[in-house]
């Protein structure tokens, strides 16, 4: 940022003008890079797929070799937003070959807001918006012990059938421990 500094006491008017035109060029360049960055981000960003419970049921019954991590969250849930980076990190590092699915529980008419959030945070894990308002009709099928509060995370191994369900905010390293406990 020192580039933009114009020292009136030591600069002649000429250098001052030169500095100003330099500033303009730099400003444009920075703006172009910023615009490119945002456009690219927007193009790269995925959006949430709105699903009904039968789609979630398919995931719960998958025969995949991958460990499945289902994280239930919503925009209005502060601890959910707080723990999302941990799930994103798990997704990008891919140390456990686990499949991370972020199940969003915002109302389906809020999908635009969810997509804005996904773009802004550049979320890479798959996001599904579960449009199933009658919670008591499906919640026990995810886990009988679930009270209905979020954040909630289900980790399971489709091959062994072992599963762990937690209904609280995840701390650093906790999902890794949950995954390890499935072996």
């Amino acid at each position: 940022m020192d580039l933009y500094k114009v020292d009136d006491t030591s600069c002649s008017k000429k250098t001052d003008i030169l500095m100003h035109s330099k500033m303009r060029v730099w400003g444009k360049l920075i703006m172009a890079v910023t615009v490119f960055f945002f456009v690219e981000k927007a193009l790269m960003a995925q959006s949430a797929t709105v699903i009904r419970f039968d789609e979630l049921q398919k995931i719960l019954q998958t025969k995949s070799d991958q460990i499945q991590v289902l994280n239930f969250w919503a925009l209005w849930c502060a601890p959910c937003i707080k723990e999302l980076p941990l799930l994103e990190k798990l997704n990008t590092e891919n140390r456990f070959n686990a499949k991370i699915t972020l199940i969003n529980l915002d109302y389906a008419d809020k999908v635009e807001k969810v997509n804005e959030f996904i773009a802004r945070k550049n979320i890479k894990s798959e996001v599904l918006l579960l449009d199933e308002i009658d919670y008591n009709s499906w919640i026990d099928k995810v886990d009988r012990g679930w009270s209905g509060a979020i954040p909630a995370t289900l980790v399971f191994n489709p091959k062994t059938g072992k599963r762990k369900f937690v209904e609280k905010e995840l701390k650093e390293g906790e999902i890794e421990k949950l995954i390890a406990s499935l072996n």
Binding site: I133, N136, S147
Partner: protein, 202 residues
């Protein structure tokens, strides 16, 4: 003497342990509680002995589900207070964690929405714990039998938080209607979808 002391301690420990894991189930008698209302006056469950029961709702200002259900909670009192089942709302959220649920914020919410029922603060969170309330809003329909209040329904208000008019199962209304008609309640337990009660960090 020493033995008595040790026995006493063991007894106390057992009481504490059992108290910790205990929560009300349908059919249980509820212990009396006394909490401060937003008008500064104390309200006790035993103040309601002349009615047929009480609809106790653990609620708060800030949770989106509480906001979505707020008008429905107000309507429940309008509909059922005169029939003998008034509403009592209780906020147990720790204001340190959720400043929007402070006593002052509760008072202004009650004033703004013209609450004609108590909105009590459960500062110690002991009442919420003894009920086994976990979420907001979390409803406990209590029926008066003899001199006691018994739990008749635990759970959510209806099956559509987003749109009251689209709800096809109005659990609380069905439960209270059944009690008023002297019939058994169809669904006595549902899951109270909502936000977790903000427990104090211990």
């Amino acid at each position: 003497m020493k033995k008595v002391k040790i026995l006493g301690l063991v007894g106390l420990l057992l009481v504490l342990l059992s108290a910790k894991s205990f929560k009300y189930e349908v059919g249980d008698a509820v212990a009396d509680f006394k909490l401060k209302n937003v008008d500064g006056k104390m309200v006790a469950l035993s103040d309601y002995k002349s009615g047929k029961g009480v609809i106790v709702i653990f609620d708060c200002n800030t949770c989106p589900y509480s906001k979505a259900y707020n008008d429905r909670i107000i309507s429940l009192n309008k509909k059922y207070a005169a029939k003998g089942f008034p509403v009592i709302t209780i906020n147990a959220n720790d204001p340190q964690i959720s400043p929007g649920d402070s006593f002052e914020a509760m008072a202004s919410q009650a004033k703004r929405k013209n609450y004609d029922f108590p909105y009590l603060i459960d500062e110690s969170q002991n009442v919420a714990k003894s009920f086994g309330a976990t979420n907001t809003p979390h409803v406990f329909v209590l029926q008066k039998s003899d001199d006691k209040f018994e739990v008749a329904y635990i759970g959510t208000i209806d099956n559509n938080s987003r749109d009251a008019s689209a709800a096809t199962k109005k659990y609380v209304e069905e439960a209270v209607d059944a009690l008023l008609a002297g019939k058994s309640i169809g669904t006595t337990n549902t899951k109270a979808i909502g936000c977790t009660i903000k427990w104090r960090n211990s």
